[in-house]
């Protein structure tokens, strides 16, 4: 318990990480309270008042090409982006951690699991996500699934490496000698060792996933209009880039700030949780 208190204090003293966490907390509040905070419903059109500049009475951030209030759409978009980040990482962890644990614990499955991971990693960048969307079809749900599967390999590798590093240690041998079953040894004795690196990676991965999903929406393969997803808002707003740059400015800024916050938090968690790496950074 004392150690945990020390970690928390060390985390708070890490100024950029604490700032990242504060921004994320604010985003969660905004997302939860969107219906009450938003001055307008996100999809009410007002064609005579389209492309109103920021500062227009009633529309602090202006309106888009259909006269919808940009601030309101941004607030609702926070819900979508946070949900995307969490679901994508949940999919990736849900598949990656059991697979990595199995690969690290049972040499019998190691080959087939790691070859599958190698095959997934042989598709550069977001191409694996594109392959999945090409099969399943465009749409926000399929894009989230695609980005989730695309994120599986990193969790397989981290879990497997952690399991391998403790597999032959004495306390694991002791648990085995005491008659504990494989499942119990894995879950109770070995997986807790992976929590720190997994938490760090999951935080970074939320950032990457929000960014990737927004990119897919931007090129038309993710969220479809009129969903107030930030990437999709940018995609529809770019048509009027020259005459109304504010329509693309704010959603992009929102993505940037959100991703930055998760990246800062991830950096801080790594510094605090992993003393070995702290020396180098």
């Amino acid at each position: 318990m004392r150690r945990r208190g020390g970690l928390w204090r060390r985390f708070l003293r890490h100024r950029s990480a604490a700032a990242g966490l504060a921004v994320i907390a604010a985003l969660v509040v905004v997302a939860a309270l969107a219906p009450w905070l938003a001055p307008h419903p996100p999809d009410v059109q007002n064609l005579p008042g389209r492309l109103a500049p920021p500062g227009t009475p009633g529309h602090p951030l202006g309106t888009d090409e259909l006269g919808r209030d940009i601030l309101s759409r941004l607030l609702y978009g926070a819900r979508i982006s946070l949900v995307i980040g969490i679901i994508v990482v949940a999919v990736a962890v849900g598949i990656g951690v059991p697979a990595g644990a199995l690969a690290g614990y049972h040499p019998r499955y190691d080959g087939v699991i790691m070859r599958t991971v190698d095959l997934m990693l042989s598709f550069p960048g977001i191409l694996l996500a594109l392959v999945i969307i090409a099969v399943l079809g465009p749409g926000l749900g399929n894009a989230m699934l695609a980005v989730g599967i695309f994120s599986v390999p990193v969790f397989v590798r981290i879990t497997r490496a952690s399991i391998l590093s403790v597999r032959e240690l004495e306390y694991v041998q002791a648990a085995r000698a005491a008659g504990a079953r494989d499942g119990r040894i894995l879950v109770r004795h070995m997986l807790p060792n992976c929590v720190a690196p997994l938490l760090v990676q999951a935080t970074f991965r939320i950032a990457t996933s929000i960014l990737t999903a927004a990119s897919l929406s931007f090129i038309g393969l993710g969220a479809q209009p009129p969903t107030p997803e930030w990437g999709a808002m940018l995609a529809t707003g770019r048509v009027n880039l020259y005459i109304a740059p504010h329509v693309t400015l704010y959603p992009g800024l929102a993505i940037f700030i959100t991703v930055l916050a998760f990246n800062l938090l991830g950096d801080g968690l790594r510094d605090v949780l992993d003393p070995r790496l702290r020396a180098a950074h």
């Binding site: 042989s122 931007f218 992009g252």
Partner: protein, 306 residues
């Protein structure tokens, strides 16, 4: 070294085989009846049958796979469903654009990222270090499509220095390359900084300093060379990111590269192009990975491949 090269080339063949199987499987993994999906929602039974025959989907799977591989080996990637133009011609037009974009971006990311990381490490704790790390953090977090649109606004609309319409001229690659390079540049700068910092604490660096070598010589001759190995890994891995990232960047700048072609073909369900495009990009990536691994041995004499 030779047996290692041989083994890596064999591995390359294995990866290629895996990628071929995946691209072949794409048509068969479509939920429901692929012929129905491709023919469209309002297709008649006849046109669905036509699609099925045209794609050979009425044949047993092993026969289909053998045909697919047989055509690949002959360099026949099929024809686009929509335009009926051979896929090789479509790819021949778009591949050079994507390849140039990728190479320029990676070069830019390396040429700027490595020195930034070195300066940050050597002047650890100073304003230069802080500024570099803030820029790097921003580079990791900024959406490339937003950065690209803002660059267009600034350099094409406001300053009028560069045109925003894609014409394929060398100057047209400047903004896309900067856009695509930013993320990798940030990662490379961070990796260079942290591996330089690690190397600078080693005994042999203190020895080099103690024997009176100029600080500059210590930093650039002794430290940087050893710090470069992990940096090279990051650069190699980033080539994958950049190859995938061309898809987004080309869309921002309306470039007619493979990314634009791929996205349009995915939306059109033009599977021959999707399959071939993914195959080509994945094979490029595999070759680059092989070259990166071989480069290690050249840079780092400690690495001996048996």
């Amino acid at each position: 070294m030779f047996p290692y090269v041989l083994r890596r080339v064999a591995h390359l063949a294995l990866v290629a085989a895996g990628v071929v199987v995946v691209t072949f499987s794409m048509l068969h993994l479509i939920p429901g009846d692929p012929a129905h999906v491709i023919a469209g929602d309002f297709a008649t039974q006849e046109s669905i049958e036509g699609v099925r025959r045209r794609l050979g989907l009425d044949q047993p799977l092993p026969v289909q796979f053998a045909r697919y591989v047989g055509r690949l080996v002959r360099g026949d990637l099929g024809a686009s469903f929509r335009s009926n133009v051979p896929v090789t011609r479509e790819l021949g037009l778009s591949y050079p654009i994507s390849a140039q974009l990728a190479v320029y971006s990676l070069a830019l990311a390396t040429v700027v990222g490595v020195p930034l990381g070195v300066v940050a490490a050597v002047r650890r704790g100073t304003f230069a270090d802080l500024a570099t790390m803030v820029i790097a953090m921003a580079g990791l977090s900024i959406p490339s499509f937003w950065l690209g649109l803002n660059l267009i606004l600034l350099f094409s609309v406001r300053l009028g220095w560069l045109r925003s319409i894609w014409g394929g001229a060398p100057a047209d690659y400047i903004l896309p390359s900067v856009t695509l390079a930013m993320f990798s540049l940030a990662l490379i700068a961070r990796q260079t900084r942290s591996s330089m910092l690690e190397v600078l604490t080693q005994d042999y660096i203190r020895t080099a300093r103690a024997k009176g070598l100029a600080v500059r010589a210590v930093h650039y001759r002794h430290a940087l060379q050893n710090a470069l190995v992990p940096v090279l890994t990051v650069i190699g891995l980033n080539f994958g990111y950049i190859l995938g990232g061309t898809v987004i960047t080309e869309s921002i700048f309306s470039m007619r590269g493979m990314g634009t072609l791929l996205v349009a073909s995915i939306l059109d369900r033009d599977y021959p192009i999707v399959q071939a495009g993914i195959l080509v990009l994945a094979l490029n990536f595999a070759v680059i990975n092989l070259l990166t691994d071989l480069l290690y041995a050249v840079i780092d004499p400690r690495i001996r491949y048996a």
